[in-house]
Amino acid sequence: MDAHEPVAYIERTRRYYEAQGFEHAYQYAHYDETPFVRPAKPLSECRVGLITTASLTHRPPLSPRNVASTDITPPPASLFTDDLSWDKQATHTEDLNSYCPLATLQSLQAEGYIGEVCDRLHCAPTEYSQRSTLEKDAPELLQRLREDGADVALLVPL
């Protein structure tokens, strides 16, 4: 591979789990159509919702992964990321803002770049089930963002 090309994670993970003897490769979500809507307000007037795929609290192995929300005031000191497949050789997740940019958004709010950060942060750790994401998590997240009065949402998958 070219030293500067983005890593091909779909193929990389397929090979990794194939080396472990798993016969069926994980089927990543794919959709032929993608919704697209322009915001009705300038960004400086928008309420911005924030979604992370980290867990709000420590999760025992194999326990269910459900959407969870927390007030941003006070901000969480940390989130639980140990059971996610980020690159544990190359980096760490000790700095919350490096993957859940709550402080950055609050700074942009203070500057007037965005209108306001929504009052809640939403955690959506994946079950690696497309059905669960479509039928449970996504509708739950949408409802919570609407409750928050979000105009736009920033999703940062970890």
Partner: protein
């Protein structure tokens, strides 16, 4: 909109707006503790909310991680670890089988 570092996964799915940050997985919003970089990345991502004209158009952050070793190492399979990965997979299947028997 999405800020992330797994370009092929996000593009395979199809999303309204995507800022790709070509970093190791874990810090898509900027290097740990680099507040200036984090500001630049999130600011650029949010700008896509109005600048994007259609879905499925990846925009690239100009930020760089500073090294490339991580590109090869992540979930690497080579002659040195192939046997260990096979053993690990077998153990995972054994553990799963035990759990399934316990729940019957």
């Amino acid at each position: 909109m999405i800020i992330g570092s797994a370009k092929d996964i996000v593009e395979h799915c199809g999303v309204p707006r995507y800022l790709h940050v070509d970093f190791p997985l874990g810090n898509p919003c900027g290097k740990p503790w680099d507040r200036d970089m984090q500001d630049r990345i999130v600011r650029q991502g949010l700008s896509l909310l109005h600048s994007a004209t259609a879905p499925n158009q990846t925009v690239f952050s100009p930020e760089t991680w500073g090294s490339d070793q991580w590109r090869r190492q992540y979930m690497e399979v080579n002659d040195e670890n192939r046997a260990e990965l096979a053993r690990k997979g077998e153990q995972l299947r054994i553990d799963r089988s035990v759990r399934e028997r316990r729940t019957v």
